[in-house]
């Protein structure tokens, strides 16, 4: 095989170099839009309307950020988004574990119930938007944190994933625990859950990503400004004739940054999670 010598010991085949070139091109292609987002957010207003477009701004207009920040109640939107992200995430880990634990045991109707849980993945959430709006309205949950969190405090995805993980833990553990006089909840919280960290982290990360990025639900289930989330705030920001692109891009940047930064810290776990369990639409 033809090789390029780097050092006498290490030879890199040509095709590997080619692969790297393709990958670098792909990375540039996928991330160029983000670069545009950031540079546009720092341009002056009239610079945006020139053709051919220039990637880099003439001078950095940092005031776009403060202006965009002051246009809407962003601190409030961020707080709301945090709340509507954290509560369902904790819920999915807790209630998901409980239900998954129940499904590791044999009881009458367990198969049927589990099928019902899995069946929800067949019903697209978009098909239940209208009735859910009516249900929330009848419960008086429009414009409340209840409406934005309770429907997500458990998901069949979390239950399914955790159950699969729990099943990989040998039954002997439970038998031993029972002999030691350990109750079922004690066993679940002290032994099973600590052993299932990877699965729990995956559940948490999926939940965080979905809740932070959710748009349609928050859009429909809230009408008041003080209940808006960052995504809704962002969408409202654009109006047909008066779109201020520089401010829009500034807002897009600061609402994406928290997730991206968070992701940088947990990326290994997350991608690991997707790779081992990534059954999620």
């Amino acid at each position: 095989m033809k090789t390029i010598g780097l050092s006498p010991r290490k030879k890199i085949p040509v095709y590997i170099l080619f692969i790297y070139i393709v990958l670098v091109a792909l990375v540039v292609l996928t991330n160029y839009p983000f670069l545009w987002m950031i540079t546009t957010s720092l341009k002056s207003r009239s610079e945006v309307f020139v053709f051919p477009p220039k990637l880099l701004p003439e001078a950095l207009v940092w005031s776009n950020y403060s202006e965009a920040w002051n246009m809407s109640a962003w601190p409030r939107y961020f707080t709301n988004t945090l709340i509507t992200t954290i509560i369902p995430t904790i819920g999915q880990m807790l209630f998901g574990s409980l239900a998954a634990y129940a499904f590791t045991r044999k009881f009458k109707g367990s198969k049927f119930l589990f099928t019902l849980f899995l069946g929800t993945m067949m019903i697209p959430s978009q098909a239940t938007l209208v009735p859910n709006y009516v249900i929330l309205r009848n419960l008086g949950w429009i414009n409340t944190f209840k409406g934005l969190t309770v429907p997500f405090i458990s998901s069949s995805f979390a239950v399914f994933l955790l159950r699969q993980y729990f099943l990989t833990i040998p039954k002997d553990y439970e038998d031993a625990a029972v002999i030691d006089g350990c109750g079922p909840f004690h066993f679940l919280f002290r032994i099973l859950i600590p052993l299932s960290k990877p699965a729990l982290v995956t559940v948490a990360l999926f939940s965080i990503m979905e809740r932070w990025n959710d748009f349609i639900w928050a859009l429909i289930m809230t009408t008041k400004d003080n209940m808006r989330t960052v995504q809704v705030g962002m969408a409202v920001f654009q109006s047909e004739s008066g779109t201020e692109w520089t401010l829009m891009m500034a807002a897009a940047t600061f609402i994406s940054l928290p997730v991206i930064i968070f992701f940088l810290f947990v990326q290994d776990k997350f991608i690991e999670g997707v790779m081992t369990t990534g059954i999620k639409a």
């Binding site: 009239s46 429009i142 009408t223 008041k224 400004d225 409202v236 109006s239 047909e240």
Partner: protein, 427 residues
């Protein structure tokens, strides 16, 4: 907030009952006494860009001007989005106290009685009178004798043109076209400047401007009684055919958003006067402004919005809202509004002020919209409940004709049938 609402309601009921006791034998209407209780009211508004900043500034001014009432301003998105949200809030029984809406979108709210009539407030308040507002603009908000909104942001479409391109094409930049036929000739000359230069941008998506074209070609958009649309009448078809011809010959583009108009690659465009300040700040070319061209007649639609008070708010909230409305409609506020955005002032005081004369002298482009007042007419369908749906059908017919090179008469016929079917359900 809820507690406060309830409390205020009780205070009001008690006040009015004691009032009635004392006023026995006299007039049934109790004398209005201004409350001194602090109160917060929510206000939704619906315009982005510069007008958004100006609205926020005015609200802050109002809050600073007195200590009793606090207005919380909330941006609801575009007119359409705000209307959707307001409908949803009506359904959920959770409306704001004051809303800023496009007049064209208010029919359902007015007809179903969601808005408070302002007649009694005008009657009892000696500080303002109806005569303080431009009559034509105020009357747009009247339905069966009751006044439901206070004109806030009034506009009509004007023509923006690129003087640099005019010069390059050998046209006199001080002599913009006054008829559609002239505009066509101008567009031809500007188009000759290059393959990526266009003579005219047929503004896409707003609907009220294209409705205006129908008028200028001598037609009507909808029957006076709102029973059927008139899109297959010759003028409506001709207007669309005219635009389609310009588009097909490459003289015009048909584009929404603001990037085409601000890029400097288009000679002329028609947009609301509301975007005047936005445009001045965003373009790098020499910007001229002129009245809209005519064809059979000169006629422009009045657009924009008013401020409305929700009828289900407590009396204390409504009283506070009235103070806020008065402030927003005052000569001073309207002057500030007109100068910072390009909108028309709805206050007679602002119109006659020395400041306005100074603004016009400094930048005559701000005057164009007022020159058009004499032939500005309210949009046809202000009291049309399924307006949203009907106008989107009209816009789709324009899209299908121009962008897919359809037959104008046929697409308009199909659209008219669809629209009339919807209208029939509301008869």
């Amino acid at each position: 907030m809820k507690q406060l609402k309830k409390f205020m309601l009780i205070v009001c009921i008690v006040c009015s009952m004691t009032g009635m006791l004392f006023a026995q034998g006299q007039k049934a209407e109790p004398e209005y006494v201004a409350s001194t209780e602090p109160i917060t009211i929510e206000f939704w508004y619906s315009i982005g860009g510069n007008p958004q900043k100006a609205t926020k500034a005015l609200v802050e001014k109002f809050n600073a001007s007195q200590s009793r009432i606090t207005v919380e301003a909330v941006y609801g998105g575009s007119y359409e989005d705000t209307t959707k949200k307001l409908l949803a809030s009506v359904v959920a029984g959770d409306t704001p106290v004051v809303a800023h809406m496009a007049m064209a979108y208010t029919a359902q709210f007015v007809v179903d009685g969601y808005f408070e009539s302002l007649n009694k407030y005008f009657a009892r308040d000696k500080q303002v009178s109806e005569a303080d507002f431009v009559k034509g603009l105020l009357e747009l908000n009247r339905f069966k004798g009751e006044l439901y909104g206070l004109p806030f942001n009034c506009s009509n479409p004007i023509m923006f043109y690129n003087k640099d391109l005019f010069r390059a094409a050998g046209l006199d930049p001080e002599k913009p076209p006054v008829t559609w036929d002239e505009l066509y000739e101008y567009a031809k000359k500007i188009k000759a400047l290059g393959p990526d230069i266009y003579g005219f941008n047929i503004e896409r998506g707003s609907g009220w401007i294209s409705q205006g074209y129908t008028w200028q070609f001598g037609g009507e958009w909808i029957a006076q009684d709102n029973s059927s649309v008139k899109w297959t009448d010759a003028p409506a078809v001709e207007a669309l055919q005219f635009m389609q011809k310009m588009f097909n010959e490459g003289l015009a583009v048909y584009m929404g958003g603001n990037t085409m108009d601000f890029s400097g690659k288009v000679g002329m465009t028609i947009r609301s006067t509301a975007t005047l300040t936005d445009t001045i700040q965003s373009v790098k070319y020499d910007l001229g402004v002129a009245a809209i061209p005519g064809k059979v007649k000169k006629q422009v639609p009045i657009g924009g919005g008013s401020l409305y008070v929700f009828q289900n708010a407590s009396q204390a909230e409504k009283d506070a809202a009235w103070e806020f409305l008065k402030f927003m409609g005052s000569a001073e506020s309207q002057m500030y509004w007109a100068a910072t955005t390009g909108y028309q002032a709805s206050s007679v005081g602002a119109l006659n002020s020395a400041e306005m004369q100074a603004l016009w002298a400094k930048d005559p482009r701000f005057k164009t919209t007022y020159d058009q007042i004499s032939y500005a007419v309210v949009e046809d369908q202000t009291r049309l409940i399924p307006f949203n749906e009907v106008r989107s059908i009209f816009n789709e017919a324009w899209d299908a004709t121009i962008l897919k090179n359809g037959n104008a008469a046929e697409t308009l016929k199909a659209a008219q049938d669809r629209a009339n079917k919807i209208l029939a359900q509301y008869k």
